[in-house]
C-alpha cells in the first residue's frame, strides 16, 4: 500500500502549551484514518500541520512524499479539504460557490454532477446561508471533491448535524471509500468512527495515547464498544 500522508515527530507549541507533541503517523492509499480526542486535544492543529497551514516547531510531514508548504500546487491539485466550521461569502449561491472553487483547479470534476450526487442539484440558485446544516455539510464535501482528489481531509464534518443528516454524510463517505479515496478525518462521534475508519489515533493534550485499527483498539480495552474503550483510554469514568 502506497503511503499518501506521512508525519514524523511533529511538534507544535503555542507559548508554553504543547499543542502537538511528537506525533508520527502515516496514511495509505484507500485508507480512512481517524483522529480522535477531546476539544483542544490538538486535532485541528495536527491537520493544519499536515496541510502546511502551520509550520511545525520540529518534525516533518509530507503528502504524496512532497512538503505541502513547498509544493502547494502539486499537492493541492489532488487534495480536497473541508476545514472545521468553514463559512461561505455572504449572499453567495451554491452555483457561484462551485464555479469559484472549480476555477481554482486545472481539471475540476463536473460540479453539476457532484451536486446531483449529493442531492443539491435543485439548490443551485439558493443562497448557501439558507441551506440547512446537513445540506451545507454535503456542499462542503462536494466542494472538497472538486479536484477529483486522491486524499480528502475532513475536520469535524458532522459536528452539529442531526442523526439523519449525519447518516447522509456517512453514506457519501462510504461511497468514496469504496472508490478508493483516502480520508483523514476528525470526529467526536464514536459510532461514526467505527463505521468509517480503518485506523485511528487517539490524542490527549497533543500526545498519542494509542494508534491502531478500530478492532484492535477495542480488543485491547476491557470494553466491547469504541465509545467506552475511548473513555477508558482517556482515563475517564465509564458509565456502563
Amino acid at each position: 500500500m502506497n503511503t499518501l500522508i506521512q508525519a514524523n515527530d511533529l511538534t507544535k507549541r503555542f507559548g508554553t502549551r504543547l499543542a502537538v507533541d511528537h506525533i508520527s503517523l502515516s496514511v495509505g492509499e484507500g485508507e480512512v484514518f481517524g483522529l480522535l480526542g477531546h476539544n483542544g486535544a490538538g486535532k485541528s492543529t495536527t491537520i493544519d500541520l499536515l496541510l502546511g497551514l502551520k509550520s511545525p516547531d520540529s518534525g516533518t510531514s509530507t503528502i504524496f512524499s512532497l512538503d505541502p508548504r513547498k509544493h502547494r500546487k502539486d499537492v493541492f491539485s489532488q487534495v480536497g479539504v473541508q476545514l472545521q466550521s468553514t463559512s461561505y461569502q455572504n449572499n453567495i449561491t451554491v452555483r457561484e460557490c462551485c464555479e469559484e472553487m472549480a476555477a481554482l483547479y486545472r481539471e475540476p470534476a463536473d460540479y453539476e454532477e457532484l451536486l446531483s450526487q449529493f442531492g443539491l442539484f435543485e439548490f443551485q440558485n439558493k443562497k448557501v446561508e439558507t441551506l440547512s446544516g446537513g445540506e451545507r455539510q454535503r456542499l462542503s464535501v462536494a466542494l472538497a471533491l472538486l479536484p477529483d482528489p486522491k486524499v480528502i481531509f475532513l475536520d469535524e464534518l458532522t459536528t452539529g448535524l442531526d442523526t439523519v443528516a449525519r447518516r447522509e454524510v456517512w453514506r457519501t463517505l462510504l461511497q468514496l471509500k469504496k472508490k478508493g479515496v483516502s480520508m483523514f478525518l476528525t470526529s467526536h462521534y464514536m459510532d461514526e468512527v467505527e463505521v468509517l475508519c480503518d485506523r485511528i489515533l487517539i490524542l490527549d493534550h497533543g500526545k498519542e495515547v494509542v494508534m491502531d485499527t478500530v478492532d484492535n483498539i477495542i480488543d485491547k480495552s476491557p470494553y466491547k464498544r469504541l465509545e467506552e474503550a475511548y473513555l477508558w483510554y482517556m482515563g475517564e469514568e465509564v458509565i456502563a
Binding site: 496541510l51 497551514l53 502547494r72 500546487k73 493541492f76 491539485s77 487534495v79 479539504v81 476545514l83 466550521s85 468553514t86 463559512s87 461561505y88 461569502q89 455572504n90 449572499n91 453567495i92 457561484e96 464555479e99 469559484e100 472553487m101 476555477a103 481554482l104 483547479y105 486545472r106 479536484p147 481531509f153
Partner: protein, 247 residues
Amino acid sequence: MSTFLKVFKVEAKLGMRCIDSVFFGVIMPAGVFLLIAALCGSKPAYDGSSYTMLEASFGALITVGICATAFMGIPLTIADYRDKKILKHFFVTPTSPLLLLGSHFVLQVLLSICSAGIIFLLASICYGYRIKGSVVLFLLSYFFVMVAMYSLGMAIASVCKTVKATNVVCTVVYFPMLFLSGATIPYEVFPTPLQKIAEFLPLTQGIKLLKESSLGIPVGNLTLAIIVLASSCHGKIRISLGIKTLI
C-alpha cells in the same frame, strides 16, 4: 476564461449585491457634488479666490470613492473572509489567497474610478467643468492618493484581528478623514485652527494635490503632501505582514 476572471466575476457579483459600497462609494459622492454645485457651485471657493466652489469640490469629491473602498470595501471584506476561513481555504487549493484579495482589489479600484468618472461626467456635462491643469499630473495625483489610502486600509485589515475591530478602526479613520480633510465639506470654509489640524490627515494632502493639479495652480507644499502620503503608503509593507496573519 482565466482563473482570475472567473473568481473576479463571482466576487464582483457578490460585491454588487451588497449595496453599501455602491451607495457610499458611488451614489453618495455624486449626490454631494450635485448638492454643492446647486447650492454654491458658481461662487468663489473663498473671498478673492480665482476658482469656484464647484472647481474646488471636484478634486475633493472624487476621493470619496477612494476612501469608501479603501476604508470600508477592502478592509471589511478581508476581515470577513479571514473570519470565515475563506482565505485559509484558498491556501489549501493550488492557487493562493492573493487571487481572492487581488480580485477584490481590482473590483474596488474599478468602483472608485467609476465614482470619479461619474462626478467628472456630471461636472463636465451639467456645469461645463474642464480640468485647467495638466491632466497627466492630475491622474498621477489621483492614483498616488489611491495607493496611499488603499495601503492604509490594507494595513488596518491586517492589524485588526476581528471584523468588529476592523469596523471600529475603519470608522474612526474614515469619518474624521471624510469630514475634516475637505473631501465632503470644503476645506476652505474651515476656521484656520481646524485647517491646521486637518493638515496632518493624509487625505487633506491628497486632496490638495488633486485640487492644485486640476486647477492648474502651483502645488503649494508639495514636499509635505508627498511625505504625508508616502508615509501612508508605507503601511503597504503591512500587507506582507498581513498575509501572514490572514490564516
